[in-house]
Symmetry: C2
Subunit: 302 residues, 2 copies
Amino acid sequence: MTTDIFTSSAVDLVIFTVVDSDKLSKQLWDDSLVSFGPYRPKSPEGLSLFVVTLPADEALYPNLHGQRVLPGGYLGKDETLAEASRRIAKQRLGLSLNTKIRQLGTFDEPNRDPRGRVLSFAYWAMVDFVEIRKYLGGRDQIGLELVNSHHYMNTFAKENFPLYHYDGVCRFGNRTMPSPSALRGHAKTLTDHLPGGRILGLDHDQMVFYAWRALRHAFTGKLDPFRFLGLNPLGLEFRISELHEFTEICRGETIQRDYFKRQLLKNETYLLNTGKTDRSRPGKPTQLYKHINDNLDVTDTE
Amino acid sequence: MTTDIFTSSAVDLVIFTVVDSDKLSKQLWDDSLVSFGPYRPKSPEGLSLFVVTLPADEALYPNLHGQRVLPGGYLGKDETLAEASRRIAKQRLGLSLNTKIRQLGTFDEPNRDPRGRVLSFAYWAMVDFVEIRKYLGGRDQIGLELVNSHHYMNTFAKENFPLYHYDGVCRFGNRTMPSPSALRGHAKTLTDHLPGGRILGLDHDQMVFYAWRALRHAFTGKLDPFRFLGLNPLGLEFRISELHEFTEICRGETIQRDYFKRQLLKNETYLLNTGKTDRSRPGKPTQLYKHINDNLDVTDTE
DNA sequence: TCAAAAGTGTTCGTTTTACACCCATGT
DNA sequence: ACATGGGTGTAAAACGAACACTTTTGA
C-alpha cells in the first residue's frame, strides 16, 4: 500500500462499453445488473453506451449504502498510473484492459472522499462488451450504468431544447453551444443540476462526465475512432449504419445519415469495403466494411 | 512536507507570458534572462510567447548542471493542487498568480526524476508580462524561454514544410495535420526529435508542449481567449492587429488578417469599439477596441 | 404491396480562402 | 511621393445542412 501519512493516492476507472440493448436483455439472466435509470427503452432501441460500476464498499463508505461507484483502488508502490489502472481492472473486475487507457485528470477536492484526503487519478477506456459480459453480476455485483442511448437523447430533447442547442448530451451531463449566449463560452450542466440528480456515489458522476467528453473526442473530424480507442466494438465487418449509430451515441448528438456516410467514405478513409452484402436486417441489403488495420491491439501503455 | 515513504508529489508550473520582444530588450538590464535559443530575431519581430524557467537546483540535480527547469515544489499537507500551484508561484517566483490555472495532467514515469519516484502534477497559466518582469533575474535567476514567435514560425517553415501542413508549431513541438497521411491521426514531434534538441531539464519540455497545446484551445472558434485565460495581456485598449498577432503566436499558425477581423467582429463579439483612434504606429490610424468585461479577475480556484 | 433501410442526386446557404484595391497617416 | 498598416469589396471554393427520390430487400 502506498498510503502516506497525509494523503492516499487512488486510481478510479471510467470504463465504457457499447452494446445493443435489445440483445442485452436476452443475454443476461439478471437485468438488475444493467441500470437504465428512468430511461429503459420500451421498444428496441439499438446501441447504448454504458459505464462499468460496482456497489460502494459498505465497510469503507457506510454513508453510501446502496450507491454504486466506479471501480478503483490504491496506487501501488512501484507502479505507474497506467499499470495501476490495468491491475485494478484485473483485480476488481477480472478484466484484462487491452485497449487504450487515457488519463482524465486528478480529483483533489479535500472533501471528495468521506474517509479523508484521497487524491484520485481517473483513467478512462472503452472495452468490448464481450469482455465485460463475462464478469457482470456475480458476487461482486459488477454492473452497467446507462450513459447514453437514442432513447435518452430523444427524451432529453423533448424535455429540454432540441439537440442542436447542445454540444453533446448524455445522462451524466451536457454542454450548451457557445454561440447563442453572449458569454462566449460553453455552459455545462452536470447531474447535480439535472432532473435525475446524482447517479453514482462520491464525485464519480463528474469523472464519468469528463471521461465522456474525452470520449467524444474520438469521433471528431477525420479521426479514426477505432485507432483512438484501441478497439473496434462493432466486429470485424460492419455496416456504415452501425458505425453511424455508434458515433451518435458516443457523441450525444445526431448526425445526418447521408452526410455521415459521404464524409466517411471520402478520400483516405480508414474503412475498406469488403464487397460482401449483408441482408441480416430489414430493408435494402448493405455493403459490409472493415477497418484497414486488422489488429488494433495496444501494446504500449500510452 | 508530504513526502510519503515511497513517492513524493510535486507540482510543476508552466507559466506563459507574452511580450513584445523589441520592448523586451530595452526594458531589461540583463538579456541573458531571456533565452531565444537560436531564434533571437535580428530585426524587430513583435510579440513572442515565453515560458518562465529557473535554473535547476544544483543540490537536488547534480547531473542537470546549467540546465533550466520549470518552477515546481512539493504538495503540502492540506492543500489542493490549485492552492499548491499558487503557493509555489509565490514562493519560487514571488508571483501572485491571479489568472486562471488549469490542470495539465500527471507525469508519473518512474524514472522521470533522477532523485527517485516523484509524481508531478503539472498546471499551466498565462500571466501578464508586467507581473513577471519584476521578478526576472536577480538571485534566483528567474528567466524566460522562448516558446513561439513569428521569427520561429518563419524559420521553421523555411526549414520544414509550409505552416499549413501543421496543426500548430512552436519551439517545444508541433503536430502535423491528420489528413495527408493514411494514419488518420495527428503525428506529433517533440523536442527530442527536433533539430534544437531538448531545451529544459527533466521531462519539462513535454510539459511545456502539452501546456501549449492546451493554450491553443483558448483561441479556437468563437471562444473568448481573455475569459479563458482570465487575463488580457494586451492592455485595456488595443488594436485588432495586436489581438491578431497574439492569436497567431499562441496558436502557432498564421491567420489571414482580413478574415480574422471579420470573424471577430461578427455578431456577438466580446469586443467593444471604444471609438478612439490610435496613431501610435506607422500607417493608417486604427480603431481601438476593449473587452466587454472590464474585469477579468479570477476569484475561484477553478 | 408495403415498410424499412440504403444509396444517391441536388439545392442552398454559410464559411473559408484568396486577391485586390483603396484609405489615412508619418516621414 | 511613398512606405506602412488599416479597411473593405468581391469572387471562387469548400463545406455543411436539408430534402427528396430511388433502390432493394423481407414480410
